[in-house]
């Protein structure tokens, strides 16, 4: 076979890859080296000025990044624990198993923006039903969206509600694909349900768990719509995340060059940190 023919077959895939992945990244890097904004709408070259500004004079970006880390790690841990518990529940032979499997998936099938609007209405401090219900029980109104600390947990509640079904789906698929033999052996040995979970189910589920956690971490690190609709990053900057901050800089303040700098830096940080997280999780969860 002529060696050159391989390249002919590779070319369409390569072309698509360059078009949809390589070109946008290169364009973003180039844009990040420009001062493109509303008053200088051109791809001028300003060197690494934007990067110097980011690393020396923009604490808001780093605050939003650490806030994002807290929000995404917390939501993914909660989603994993709840999702695993629900998957374990419907994995067993229980009544209305099919019904529960479908009902647990409903939040994921709804549109995030619409659902967040509904949650915002629920949590509205003076007009929403949550504080009304709590008031009926004698509880003082809770500042769901106006207290800087509580607002973070409100975002977490909405995110967990929306995306736990995704975790549930992956983990249930994993549980259904597990081999039966190790469970039979554990049953013959008289292992308790707790020991079966710790020594059989959990280790067998580890590779799937790592995959599910990483997928959700990638998604959670892009959290934008929930924050945008629920709190707009407020009160103050208490719930502002990196992606929301980049959106503000790029599309609200029209600092395109600087927003590209933020995006590219964020991409690099995410690639490095997710690689480290995946390695750590593999080490912790998969024992040779």
């Amino acid at each position: 076979m002529n060696f050159k023919h391989k390249f002919v077959f590779l070319f369409p895939g390569l072309f698509v890859l360059i078009g949809i992945l390589i070109f946008p990244i290169i364009f973003t890097i180039r844009l990040s080296l420009s001062g493109w904004n509303s008053y200088t709408p051109e791809m001028n070259f300003i060197g690494i000025t934007n990067y110097i500004r980011l690393f020396t004079d923009d604490p808001r970006f780093w605050e939003s990044f650490f806030r994002l880390s807290f929000l995404s790690v917390t939501t993914v841990i909660l989603q994993y624990v709840i999702g695993f518990a629900l998957a374990m529940m419907v994995w067993r032979e229980i009544k209305f198993k099919r019904f529960f499997r479908v009902i647990f998936l409903v939040p994921m099938m709804t549109t995030p923006v619409i659902m967040t609007v509904i949650w915002r209405t629920f949590f509205h401090e003076s007009l929403g039903p949550v504080n009304d219900l709590l008031g009926g029980l004698g509880v003082k109104p809770i500042l769901w969206l106006s207290d800087p600390v509580i607002a973070k947990f409100t975002v977490i509640i909405v995110e967990v509600w929306q995306w736990t079904p995704f975790m549930f789906l992956l983990l249930l698929a994993g549980l259904l694909s597990l081999p039966k033999e190790p469970f039979l052996a554990a049953a013959i040995d008289g292992a308790s349900p707790f020991r079966k979970f710790v020594y059989v189910t959990f280790p067998l589920m580890a590779p799937i768990s790592i995959g599910a956690i990483i997928i959700r971490l990638i998604e959670a690190s892009k959290i934008m719509d929930t924050v945008f609709v629920l709190t707009s990053g407020g009160p103050g900057t208490a719930t502002e995340t990196s992606s929301f901050y980049i959106y503000i800089k790029g599309l609200r303040e029209f600092q395109m060059g600087y927003a590209a700098t933020l995006s590219f830096t964020y991409l690099v940080i995410m690639i490095i940190s997710l690689t480290i997280i995946a390695k750590v999780l593999t080490k912790l969860m998969i024992k040779e």
Binding site: S146, S232, G236
Partner: protein, 511 residues
Amino acid sequence: MKTIKTCVTALISALLVFSPVAYADKWSDQFPHIKATGDIPGDCSYESMSKKNYKGKTLKINTHAVPVMGEPTALHAEQFAKLTGAKVDVTHTPAGDLYAKAMVPFQAGQAPYDIVFGFSNFINDWRRYLEPVPKKYVEMKQMKDVTPSHIGVASWDGVMYQFPVDGDRHYLKYRKDVIDNPEYQKQYKEATGKELKVPTTWKEYGEMAAYFNGWDWDGDGEKEYGSAEVMKKDDLMYAAFYSRSAAYSKNPKTPGGFFFDLETMKPLINNPGFVEALTDWVEATKYVPPGGINFGLGDEIGSFGGGQTLFSFSWDDAFVAAMQPDSPINNKVGAAQLPGAMKVWNRKTNSWDEGFNQAPFFVWGWAVGVAKKSKEKEMAFDYLCFFANEANHQADIGIGRFGVNPFRNDDFKVDVWTQIGWDKDIAQSYVDTLAQMEQSKNRVFPLRVPGTFEFNAALATAAAKALAGQLSPQAALDEAAKQWEDILNRVGKDNVRKAYAVGVAMEDNKQ
């Protein structure tokens, strides 16, 4: 002969007098929106537009989401299409994205929209991409009635780039049934030793709002609160902050800039005047409804318009919404100028000048322009002219959710408002408030410089941090001032100064 002459004169007079009614009958049947006035003759009236033929042509408009400005845009687009045969495509965009949605294609040299709606403070960034309003429209009768302030807002260095369709300013709205209630006046006097009256200073505003906070003072079984304000960071809150700051920082003795010192271009937003205003505003978080710190404009309109609070201050919409027949507080509200202060900061002497000071804020409002690269400029200007014709305008200003507010001298006549069901004294207080603002010599105009968005966003973020308790008012405004310095350095002080001088000339009554 004399009798014939008299008859002919009477006939002609009758035709002249009743001709508008004839138009009204003809057009208001077809377009019920103008049923109150019928068509009003003019260059862009229904009658005039019906003579245009734009069949086979398409007009593309980007406007705000429904209802505020989006609803009248769509309504008038439909009417325009019926009258002229044009096809009109209307795209609705959320407020926060209006700027970028026009700016991205502008900068790429494209014109996906013939007409772009935005805010009047976009003018400096947008003007190079907008077609100046042609002389023929500038000299029309309907344009001659626009107040000088709003001609100024729509123009840059004497050239009109934005077609006036709306007029905006911030003013105080209050519950007249409470403030004028003798029982509450007595009760308030006993409790505080002070008079219950329309507040003339922000301190009085705060005291009254705090007193009327958290109890059922209108007997509807629900708790009411002191004040509804736009406090949400990305939802126009910086405009509310400027309104609160004007009394403390706009000193008529120190012309030459409210936001910057025009000479040195030093940001003034962290001077004691602004800090005092932010301190008042942080205090206000105690007398807004629960969650009030997250109120955007829509929430503020809903809260005051729905009877939840004693006071509010922002654009006309909440007031007009409160005065609509279906409102629970219809004819129970009053309007007054923004409160003032008993001291104002003097940046020349670096001290407070004692004495009453008040400064109306001509906050930016809805604005609209025609893209320079549009291929349908004539049709686009005709549409805008039709949008703002006398009949449409009179119908639009009476509908709170439309967001179309007074900007013509005729709008300041009491009859315009009593005709749509307002009590005469309320209509009088409303038109007086607006007229007094127009006549004021100590006005503040919105910041309209390159990078306006960056300046306002930096200020809003800092103020939001103070409201949320993340920073003290002084620290928050110091942070904002530092960011303003950085923005100035990026944009270029001279660029900003040149643009800012245009607004300062208006504030200093030189234009």
